[in-house]
Amino acid sequence: MSSRRPPRGEYIETDTGNKVARKATLVGTQNIMLGGKTVIQPDAIIRGDLVRTIHPSSQSGGNAAPQNNTAISIGRYCFLSRNCCLRPPGRLYKGAFTYMPLRMGDHVFIGAGSVVQAASIGSHVHIGAGSVIGEFAIIKDYVRILDGTVVPPNMVIPSFSIVAGQPARVIGEVPEGGHEAFELRDLYKTVGNNPQPAPH
């Protein structure tokens, strides 16, 4: 085991347990919030530099609250597979263009090669490989998006939906007994600089 260990680990492991691949592309890291225990695999792209440029509070006057510049916030136990791309959604707001934050809950799995530009993703969400989540989509909790799905912009996917197709449509409901399958704690342990085998 230890004989083939590279001098530097493939992952950077932070104090809060995040495992970020050295080969991942994180742009604008100061605007990316990781909740902890999140895995970012190699060649993932996260665009933290595309921050919100119009703040509604600043226009209405009053005291300028400390501006929250978070572009992408990611909860705990999220898993961003290889080649996925997370970027904040952008739109015209009162005649000007601005990006808006992308918020993700806990236990969100994003499959390899998927492109996510949602406005919000709840907790316990599984996004299959090769999917496209359009701008300002809202995905609630316990949602399973099958591989290759194209979720159109502005679509709202309610909790406990199974979604597939191009464009996406709700094709089923997550059964009561299927909630535990969204847990990503075990998957978290299987990657990193000293991964453990997947438990049975």
């Binding site: 080969k23 792209i45 080649n83 263009f97 090769g130 194209v150 191009q166």
Partner: protein, 214 residues
């Protein structure tokens, strides 16, 4: 942060002074790459002029991992490794003549984008006299085959495919299931204005490093 993979030969470039190109963009090839005014190249976008010259018009936006130029013959594989790509059709020089709308300087293996073209994340535009008309949006993960000519103000929905050599009329919406529609929104002006606004913001957010590629 991983160093940007600058593989292959460094191509001669012709940049407008008002363009925005991220440091992590990847430019390779031997022929000219010209990018006209106010266009934006996102990080990890790949422009490959190995087969022929790449021309990008005014106010275009090329997103992450988009692949412009390059083909099976240039030995480069698409960055989209996980998404099943049905074996890249080898572009033949025979279709080169179909690039009627391409700019006058189009070489047989060139790629020409008009003005106000958006190339979304992970989209691929193969080289080979390929032309994309003004105001067209190439959706996420979409693929424009070698020698295809996409008209003006078309929309290629995510993961749709325009096969090599195909000619797509203006205002066509290409759906991922192969269906085609006509865009009757009549919103081209609004769309272009929106894109201009987006570019204004992007110019502020992305630190441009044209010197790196010059």
């Amino acid at each position: 942060m991983a160093p940007s993979a600058q593989s292959g030969p460094k191509p001669p470039v012709h940049f407008s002074s008002s363009l925005t190109i991220a440091e992590l963009a990847v430019l390779t090839g031997a022929h000219h790459i010209s990018i006209h005014s106010e266009s934006v190249i996102h990080p990890r976008a790949r422009l490959d002029s190995l087969a022929g010259r790449v021309t990008i018009g005014r106010r275009c936006v090329v997103h992450e991992r988009a692949m412009i130029g390059g083909s099976a013959s240039s030995g480069l594989t698409s960055a989209r490794s996980s998404v099943a790509s049905p074996g890249v059709l080898s572009p033949t020089a025979a279709v080169a003549g179909s690039g009627g709308e391409a700019s006058q300087s189009a070489t047989p293996q060139s790629v020409t984008l008009g003005d106000y073209v958006t190339v979304e994340v992970g989209a691929t535009i193969e080289a080979g006299g390929t032309a994309v008309g003004d105001g067209t949006v190439v959706g996420v993960g979409a693929r424009v085959g070698a020698g295809a000519v996409v008209g003006k103000h078309c929309t290629l929905t995510p993961q749709s495919v325009v096969s090599p050599g195909e000619v797509v009329p203006d205002f066509t919406v290409v759906l991922a299931n192969g269906m085609r529609r006509t865009d009757r929104r009549g919103m081209t002006e609004l769309k272009n204005k929106g894109l201009a606004r987006q570019i204004e913001v992007l110019r502020r957010l992305i630190s441009s490093k044209p010197a790196k590629f010059a």
